[in-house]
Symmetry: none
Subunit: 195 residues, 4 copies
DNA sequence: TATGAATGAGCTTTCATTCAT
DNA sequence: GATGAATGAAAGCTCATTCAT
């Protein structure tokens, strides 16, 4: 199962693309193989199973994401700046691994019940801790409004950011940073015009 | 195919529940039948295929939704009030048909390529027209900020509302109207504390 | 998985026949289905898997065998009569379930490592206890020779009986009881002519 | 296909070991290669197929066996001494090629229908001729009992000897010759104590 | 001599669907 | 209205084998 890393990555990228486009279940192993220019059986030289491809895609994404998040969280920023940095890193990750994010979005919920994908639930918990904690700190430090339900705000922010993977196309007219800036502006200031 | 309407509705509700929990593809007809207390083959007395169950669930949801939306859009409200009404109706619909909304969220994108589900794409277009139009009117009438990309704002709003179906539980601590009010407050005013 | 018992038994008998003739691994599910007059997939209405057919065949055989053995062992016979009765019951079982015995013979050794087939090993242990015990009792009571290695004698007897399944054909010229009588005569008296 | 004979023999011994332990069909070429410290494809430098390994194992065993048997049969012994010599040679062969004998035992029956393995059937015939002939000669010469079915006696002897391969471990507490002596004692004199 | 990568045929299994009863 | 049994297509996966390097 350990092959030339480049070929693995190629196949994995192909698989991610197809999974994201058609859904994991609806994707046949044959379809991935076609897209990778080989026969279905040949995939099994590189990977144990369809599921293990999914696993690598998802864990690869989460590992990278958490490396960035941890850097942000460890750098001693204030609540508002932390939120800004997390949102920006999220959009950058969507830019880097759009397919993985889209798959995560669609499949994480039922996958996390399987032992193999327990790390999805674990990540979810860490995620909540990081965002919710920052929001609460912001309320305490009078950076954020106190009249909003924090959990609701958390979900709002979280969903808002990740759902973007469903329409985002890398190389489009807005850079990830630009999208992040606009999102943050909406979330932080609201869309109402103030004069 | 025409049976006592209550039995149909029961089965449909069951199917929606399972589809929402496991995904359409991953749901077997047998699982639905189990949950409905019958054998798999017996479902075919009421419906002619698994796909037609999905179809009824989705179109039932969209028909209801558009009846409400059309009422809002035809009532001559200003842009801000229109947005408020649409968001509120959306959360009410999530409250009424949580499963259908969750299914829609997950499956609409690839279903809309099939002729049978072309109405999903059509609805999407109408949807965009309604929301985007309202936002543009709001910018023109100086109700909304002009410095934000309107398409981005549209997507932001749209996603934000519907994704809620993934965590919303009817009968929870917040009523749909209360959730709508908080969401609107965030979107319209932002989460930043202003003194 | 619970269907009309007659159909199950029919299919099981067919499967046993094919397993015995070609070996478990070499037998395809399609071949069993062909012989049973159905399509491969249809077997799965009645059974969970190819392995579960094997399981039922083997456990059915062992259950029946042990019912008979236990009756013999509990009836207070002397060592020689016990051996005679066990051998006779064994040949009767071969007559009744030739295929199952042949499969057992060929496959038991490697199957017993799998948890599902642990009962094969358990049966083996009980088996040894019964036969070896009887032989030892026979030696103690001066019914059997003391100059032979008892374990060797045990293996000799055990193998000798069961291997017969590989050539025995029900309805042949000798009844199971007649074969048992000849086998016993050889084992007990030897083949040497004494005058 | 012609390589250093030592490497071939090594691989063949490895293959025989795995075949004997797991069964021919259940053994993958990769498993053999693993055990031989190479990759699956590399085996094909030495052998042209999995089947040809089996072929060499089996024919190697039979050739050696027949060389010994022929020596015994050509040496003009009486029936009892012939049986004794054949049994002894058989146990020596089990000692030398335990795996091959075990494979033979399990696979010969269905292999012999394939043209490639027709020699298995031929050997079987020769075998029967030698043993059955000796037994008949023994009955005629009043060395063996006349009241036993000779064919049954033949099968009894044959099976009894070869099945030992399934439990025999070279280097165990009994030498092949010792095992042969005990077996012969049982078969010739019976296990009953005579005073 | 051996490796790494691929092939292709065939395997067990799943599942939506049908239909006589 | 529902059951029990079967169909048939397609799925994921295995594995002996090939072959350029």
């Amino acid at each position: 199962m350990n092959t030339a890393p480049e070929r693995r990555e190629e196949i994995l990228a192909t698989a991610a693309e197809v999974f994201a486009a058609q859904g994991y279940r609806a994707t046949t192993v044959r379809r991935i193989a076609d897209a990778a220019g080989m026969l279905a059986g040949s995939l099994y030289y590189h990977f144990d199973s369809k599921e293990s491809m999914l696993d690598e895609i998802l864990s690869g994404f989460l590992n990278e994401l958490w490396a960035r998040y941890d850097a942000v969280l460890g750098s001693g920023l204030g609540p508002r700046e932390t939120i800004e940095a997390l949102v920006t890193e999220s959009f950058r990750e969507i830019d880097r691994r759009r397919d993985a994010v889209a798959i995560y979005q669609k499949e994480a919920r039922h996958l996390q019940d399987q032992p193999r994908f327990a790390y999805l639930a674990a990540s979810q918990v860490k995620f909540e801790k990081a965002w919710l904690g920052t929001l609460e700190r912001g309320v305490a430090e009078r950076a954020f409004r106190a009249d909003l339900d924090v959990r609701l705000t958390y979900r709002f922010l979280r969903d808002t950011v990740w759902v973007a993977a469903s329409w985002y196309r890398p190389g489009g007219q807005h850079s990830p940073e630009e999208i992040a800036r606009q999102y943050l502006s909406m979330v932080l200031e609201g869309i109402t015009l103030r004069e």
